[in-house]
Amino acid sequence: MPRIAVTVDGIGYEEDVEPRLLLVHLLRDRLGKTGTPIGCDTSNCGACTVMLDGKSVKSCSVLAVQADGGDVVTIEGLAANGTMHPMQQAFHEEHALQCGYCTPGMVIAAIDLLRQNPDPSEEAIREGLEGNLCRCTGYCNIVRAVRRGAAVKTP
């Protein structure tokens, strides 16, 4: 069984994993990182999105062995010193979540979107978040939250 070393939310782990183990199951079932949920099995919904080496990935579509040597940031690792990340705060301010199941992935995807485009238009936000599905909000407030998050980051 391959042994991998992976950093998750700032903590280093060494784990023996089956080659077929998905990163999301490593996070949830082995490391107790249940903040990252699973919404589908075809990589359509994006609920399981995490940062891997600074870029967003759908952790249901990454094998744990592919994360060997990698640095993973999940929704649980975004807040610093008890203060929410500006994007988390923006989602709260704009009521951009209801049931909250898509939210971890949506927030991570939004942060990655701003990394690539710090000042996106509404259309760019909608296109940029196409890979993350939400069934509750109709997306209006998510778009507003990303705009607010962008405003905080690029004053």
Binding site: C40, C99, G100, T103, R135, G138, N141, V143
Partner: protein, 796 residues
């Protein structure tokens, strides 16, 4: 069913109650409070069912039927039993003596046929994905691996897919008793007279395609036992209903069963159910004495979470030459799927009283036949019956307008109930307590820029622009706030529609609220805190709301049908009133005055004309210490209340949609969407707007994107998110939302409910817009979802 309702009396009670202070500066009700729920949801500390890990937990995987209809001739699980990590494997036969039948709580008519519905199929499978065996293993991967080692032999049986064919004598049968599940009729007024010599008769058939509700959180169940009692965590909307039903189904005594709905990731009706997997997980923990967990994959979910809609509606509308409606005749076929689940046959009945919409008429008849097919059962999906009814009447009103050359707004105006006519008893027998369709429509027209868009439409038509503009109108009302218990009883529903709330002042002055409703995204913790803060005069932050656990919330009827605030919020408010009554007695005792001499404001009782006062927090401590209570008063400052509404509530609104249709490609793109809703008094405008947005998205998705598709063999072709088109942010526009506020008179909060409004109104608004764009090309209807291909074909 409405004779006993006296809206006028209720309105008077509301006026006299003074139960809730008016919204204003510093008041909580009406404020756009950010949600209390958000912190845990935003930081990944949410308690989803699948997050729960118990020592020694085992994982369940289900072997599911690849066929829509077949006789099971053999199941051999022995191969699975030898696989690594496998603890046990079972077939349906192994549960046959204990699994009972999944319940149907709504036997709608005398002639209803409720077939036995084993949680795990024993002799026959009747829809694709039905469970036929299961594996219990030490790891979810190993459980899934072992499924391949189970052999199941099937003898294929003919499938039944088309409702009309299913009712012919030649059709194969889903159940021995035949394919007719029930018939149900309602008639008021003289339909024959309405149709006779009617200047205009519009005859249309609309198809409500089958939808897959698709809450983002897949279902999951954890069950455990200590050898005596059982605890079940499940992603459900209805922990209380489920507990009763599981006790009745499995024989686990009700008092030995605790059901917990932890954080639940959306429901939309799909988790208003007693599922096969919930029953089987409970039986498996009973068999094995170990904690078990099952989490569905999305493709399992698309196949086996109940589906929604799926009706064929034959509509006949008779009208005068000036557009006034004489009568409406509805003949409905409703696809039940293979079995009747919790409220399957009741869904079309929830629409039966809504086909007349907001309009006046002299005759109405409704004739519904429930039909069995070899598909997943249908059941409640956002709106449940009411979107279907609203779609039909709002589509046919546009047809009437077209027939008479009237503007669609004008034809509605000539027929709707005028605001001075409320309360108004409709032809379907409901008493609409309040409403103002004129005001909502005026506001929507202004926000939309109706005249300007009509001018642009005319211009594009004149120019022969390949991109045509369509304008869709939808006015609606819905019956929600489910429901007066005696009305449910008269409709043969097995339970009541009351709701319960507890309010407890703690010794430190903080407040614990227990609600019988079970939220899954609606923000009850925030909204209920606002209601309590205003009523008791305590800080919003000092209120905690608990729910969804039958050991904490002893009584409840759960969350569906836009009922939580209207019924559950009212129960909490009434409990607050009882707390205040007791506090007043305590205060009078402490301040040595008569209870009548006390004023209550901002959380304090003050002796009239003095500064002598006691805060409610001080009184909570005194009630805890109990050192000096007046005779007859029990310690602690808390109260329970149960609210059973006298009437439904009737939100309404006007939605306008402008859509650009590319006549060369068939692509339809929403350019502007305006929703003006009247949901009565608003507790939290932020939450209300969010509910409208989400409802719009789902209603628009029915119009444009979503459809459960089966092939000729009955296989579900849309079993994954890759095949079933949920809209993404890129597929939807921004929405313009606004409100009018006509308080409900049926409850002292004046609230009406908002969970379903957007979904109900938006589907006809979008389809009306597409048809409107293409009318000059002779298009009168397009089957939903209006895909580019269907639009393109309709033009040619």
């Amino acid at each position: 069913m409405t004779e006993e309702l006296d809206a006028g009396l209720v309105a008077q009670q509301v006026a006299e109650s003074g139960m809730l202070s008016e919204p204003g500066e510093g008041k909580e009700v009406g404020r756009a409070r950010k949600r209390k729920e958000d912190a845990r949801l935003l930081t990944g500390r949410t308690q989803w069912t699948d997050n729960i890990q118990l020592p020694g937990m085992l994982y369940i995987a289900f072997k599911r039927s690849p066929m829509a209809h077949a006789r099971i001739t053999g199941v051999d699980v022995s191969g699975a039993k030898g696989m690594p990590g496998v603890v046990a494997a079972f077939s349906g036969q192994d549960f046959a003596d204990e699994q009972g039948s999944l319940p149907c709580a709504w036997p709608v008519s005398e002639n209803v046929v409720i077939p036995d519905h084993p949680p795990m199929a024993v002799e026959e499978v009747r829809y694709p994905g039905e469970a036929v065996a299961c594996v219990v293993a030490t790891d979810r991967y190993l459980a899934a691996d072992a499924l391949d080692a189970i052999d199941v032999d099937y003898e294929p049986l003919p499938v039944v897919l088309d409702m009309t064919e299913a009712l012919t004598d030649a059709s194969p049968k889903v159940h021995e008793a035949g394919n007719r599940a029930f018939t149900w009729t309602f008639a008021q007024g003289d339909m024959e007279a309405a149709l006779r010599d009617a200047p205009v008769v519009i005859d249309r058939t609309y198809v409500q395609q089958r939808l897959i509700p698709t809450a983002m959180e897949p279902r999951a169940v954890v069950a455990t036992t200590d050898g005596d009692g059982f605890t079940l965590w499940t992603s459900t909307q209805v922990p209380h209903v489920l507990r009763v039903m599981l006790a009745l189904t499995t024989g686990v005594p009700e008092h030995k069963l605790r059901v917990i709905a932890p954080d639940v990731g959306g429901g939309f009706g799909s988790k208003l159910q007693v599922t096969a997997e919930e029953v089987l997980c409970l039986l498996l923990t009973r068999k094995l004495g170990k904690p078990v967990k099952w989490t569905e994959s999305r493709s399992e979910g698309n196949m086996t979470v109940h589906h929604g809609r799926d009706q064929i509606q034959h509509i006949t509308l008779a009208a005068e030459a000036d557009g006034r409606i004489r009568g409406l005749k509805v003949e409905l076929l409703a696809d039940m799927g293979a079995y009747l689940m919790l409220v399957t046959p009741g869904v079309p009945l929830l629409g039966a009283f809504m086909f007349n919409g907001i309009y006046k008429m002299d005759a109405y008849s409704f004739d519904c036949t429930g039909v069995f097919t070899t598909k997943m059962p249908t059941d409640a999906y956002r709106g449940a019956g009411r979107p279907e009814a609203t779609y039909a009447i709002e589509r046919v009103m546009d047809e009437l307008a077209d027939e008479l050359g009237l503007d669609p707004i004008e034809v509605r105006r000539r027929n709707w109930i005028r605001h001075e006519e409320f309360p108004y008893t409709t032809i379907a027998g409901l008493t609409y307590d309040s409403g103002n369709y004129e005001a909502a429509t005026e506001k929507a027209l202004a926000l939309f820029g109706y005249d300007k868009l009509r001018a642009e439409q005319a211009d594009r038509r004149d120019r022969g622009d390949p991109v045509q503009l369509g304008i869709g109108v939808s006015t609606y009302t819905e019956m929600c706030g489910l429901a007066p218990s005696r009305v449910l009883g008269s409709l043969a529903y097995a339970a009541g529609g009351w709701e319960h709330g507890s309010v407890r002042m703690l010794p430190t002055g903080k407040v614990e609220v227990v609600t019988g409703t079970s939220p899954h995204g609606q923000g009850h913790e925030t909204a209920w805190s606002q209601i309590v803060a205003d009523s008791l005069g305590v800080p919003f932050e000092d209120v905690a709301v608990m729910h969804g656990d039958t050991a904490i919330s002893h009584k409840g009827m759960d969350t569906y049908g836009s009922r939580s605030l209207v019924v559950g919020g009212m129960a909490v408010l009434q409990a607050c009133e009882k707390v205040k009554d007791k506090a007043r007695k305590l205060a009078a005792h402490a301040l040595e005055c008569s209870a009548d001499d006390l004023d209550f404001a901002q959380g304090s009782f003050t002796v009239k004309g003095t500064t002598s006062s006691k805060t409610i927090q001080e009184l909570a401590l005194a009630a805890f210490a109990a050192h000096d209570l007046p005779d007859g008063l029990e310690p602690r400052l808390d109260a329970d209340a149960t609210f059973d509404p006298d009437n439904f509530s009737f939100p309404h609104g006007t939605h306008l949609c402008a859509i650009e249709v590319d006549t060369e490609t068939g692509m339809a793109k929403i350019r502007k969407y305006v929703a003006v809703d009247d949901v009565g008094r608003v507790v939290n405008p932020l939450i209300v707007e969010g509910q409208v947005h989400g409802g719009l998205a789902q209603g628009i998705a029915q119009a444009l994107f979503e459809e459960a598709v089966h092939d000729a063999d009955g296989n579900l072709l849309t079993a994954t998110m890759a095949d079933y088109l949920l809209p993404s942010a890129a597929d939807l526009p921004d929405f313009v939302t606004d409100r009018t506020e006509t308080p409900a008179t049926s409850n002292p909060l004046g609230v009406k409910g908002v969970g379903e409004a957007g979904t109900i109104a938006s589907t006809p608004a979008v389809v009306n817009a597409i048809v409107d764009a293409l009318r000059p090309r002779g298009v009168h209807d397009i089957q939903m979802p209006c895909t580019p291909e269907r639009i393109w074909r309709a033009i040619r």
